[in-house]
Point group: C2
Chain length 339, copies 2
């Protein structure tokens, strides 16, 4: 197991390449500062479909097709489709797999799913099991609100700590090292779930920050790298309060200073001055559209060389919350480098 | 990609070993013909817990701990925990991962999850990314009925084609070839979702049979093996009607005769004469408890040498059904041999 470093981190023998990505946004997301980086912005939250769920599927498929088109690939050339989303039984991913007709392995890590997909894609490609893996994820504000909270028509008041589920989808194509000049996945750390007893679904940033800190500190310990190794470290969707918390936890748990090069995708995605998203963005698409849209472009343009992507997920369900269970969380760290 | 054979099938360079398994059953399952093969049978469907969901978690964890105990392994020695279940946001698996504290990758393939777990475990182990993977899955009749259909207290009438969700859990530990004398995972075929337009949630056997037939025919085409290569082929939970259908489809799609050595776990698990399960068993645990309990024992005793396990999953959700979507399905085929 020459590929394992330390306890939870892996270094591919031949680092796989992200040969293309796609980032698809909903109308509200398209009004934010990352507008120039999206491949498509829907002007209608229904995306011309008959339900929120069908709209999410349309966006997920758009991300997948766009990503393959950019690389000049067809579904027949893709070995595995790894996808996950927030809807019960990850139906967005399953129904997308039907249309794509690619051998399908469904994944679920809540909003950490983009990281789980990239970690698995790396292992399948570097392990000699795939030449091309399509990893995708999505979320839809109205579909998620309906399922996790209340119908939006109720106009239920939200706490200042509440976050805004991103409407959008992201996809990435991962191929063996040496395929084109895209950024490489040079290392990754697979997280353990962490449960610090948070029960408030309107404060998942606080629930997820300890998991993100745990994975980050583990990543640094396993690799010998510190935060300064990276040009940028981004968590998925900790939001305003989670971002403050992880900075404190990184110091207290490992003595790491995140104050210079750390951001949260949930705070990059919207203009938080003008767009009322309370504590920031959340949802599987948060890290996916920011990294596969904005940050992938920066990696390709050379304004960013070393990126650590840390998607974060809260592993609860409406049922578990109603039954008074805690909200455990998980995060995976993916080192993406363009050297 | 020397490991890929044909279009969807893979042959490990060094076939991984299933070094131990565990099969945990609910009270009703424990009254069936496989009673001697379960590691533990709960006498209470609540398993001493306060909810059906917590009971499922207790069973899943019991399967995981028992499986590790049998192999003399601790969670600290396990590289990855791959688990999935039927509950929304696969909370059984996520909460189990918290207690086990093993790096966690959640999976979802509905009742095909046991196959998805073994396929991924094989790739991670043979690909040089893991020395030990714990793959687990579970289902609980009352938790599933409540979520997918109606509260059982309503006493809603069920159609003759309806199936009975298994209460139980199964786990398997997968290690590199050469570790002990357990059966080997010698090949596997990853399925594509198939959608033939079935919409009846009380007839998922019919929805899943085409996916199982598609994967089986693909497995035979990719490998050059025919059904006669195997001592036994088992699907996960097609039930009585699905079993009839797949036999016809295997002939019409590929000219393969399944009449000699094919069974469905959903019909092996219960005494269908005495136990009223309508068309048979269903649920993630169906293939898991039959293969990890009964068939693993037969492999170790030498009364079975070549097994093809084909877990089958229906990729719908209650929401997708209410929205009049079809029920697409998927199946993976895992060749398990003790030679």
């Amino acid at each position: 197991m020459a590929r394992k470093i330390g306890k939870q981190t892996y270094r591919p023998e031949n680092p796989p390449v992200i040969i293309s990505t796609a980032a698809i946004a909903g109308p509200f997301e398209g009004q934010g500062p990352l507008q120039p980086y999206f491949d498509h912005i829907y002007t209608d939250i229904m995306a011309g479909e008959r339900s929120f769920e069908a709209a999410e599927r349309e966006m997920a498929l758009n991300a997948c097709w766009t990503c393959m088109n950019k690389a000049g690939k067809t579904p027949q050339e893709v070995d595995f489709f790894l996808a996950g989303d927030l809807l019960n039984q990850i139906t967005t991913s399953g129904f997308s797999a039907v249309e794509l007709s690619i051998p399908y392995l469904g994944i679920y890590g809540a909003c950490s799913s983009a990281g789980e997909g990239l970690a698995l894609a790396t292992m399948l490609v570097d392990g000699g099991y795939a030449n091309l893996v399509l990893a995708a994820t999505s979320s839809h504000n109205a579909a998620a609100e309906k399922q996790y909270r209340y119908p939006t028509e109720y106009g239920v008041h939200r706490k200042p700590t509440a976050q805004w589920t991103v409407t959008g989808a992201g996809a990435a194509l991962v191929a063996p090292g040496g395929t084109g000049d895209g950024p490489l996945i040079t290392m990754f750390t697979v997280g353990k779930p962490v449960d610090l007893g948070i029960k408030d679904v309107q404060n998942v940033g606080a629930a997820m920050a300890p998991a993100a800190a745990d994975t980050l500190v583990r990543h640094f310990a396993d690799t010998g790298r510190g935060p300064e190794y990276y040009d940028l470290i981004v968590t998925g969707d900790l939001g305003k309060f989670g971002k403050d918390l992880i900075k404190k936890l990184a110091v207290s748990k490992g003595g790491f200073d995140l104050s210079h090069n750390y951001e949260d995708c949930g705070l990059i995605l919207y203009d938080t001055e003008k767009q009322d998203v309370h504590a920031g963005a959340s949802g599987c698409a948060s890290s996916a559209v920011v990294v596969y849209g904005y940050l992938y472009r920066r990696l390709m343009e050379g304004t960013l060389k070393r990126l650590l992507m840390v998607p974060t997920g809260a592993l609860h369900s409406p049922c578990s919350v109603q039954q008074d269970d805690n909200i455990p969380s998980i995060a995976h760290a993916i080192s993406i480098e363009k050297l």
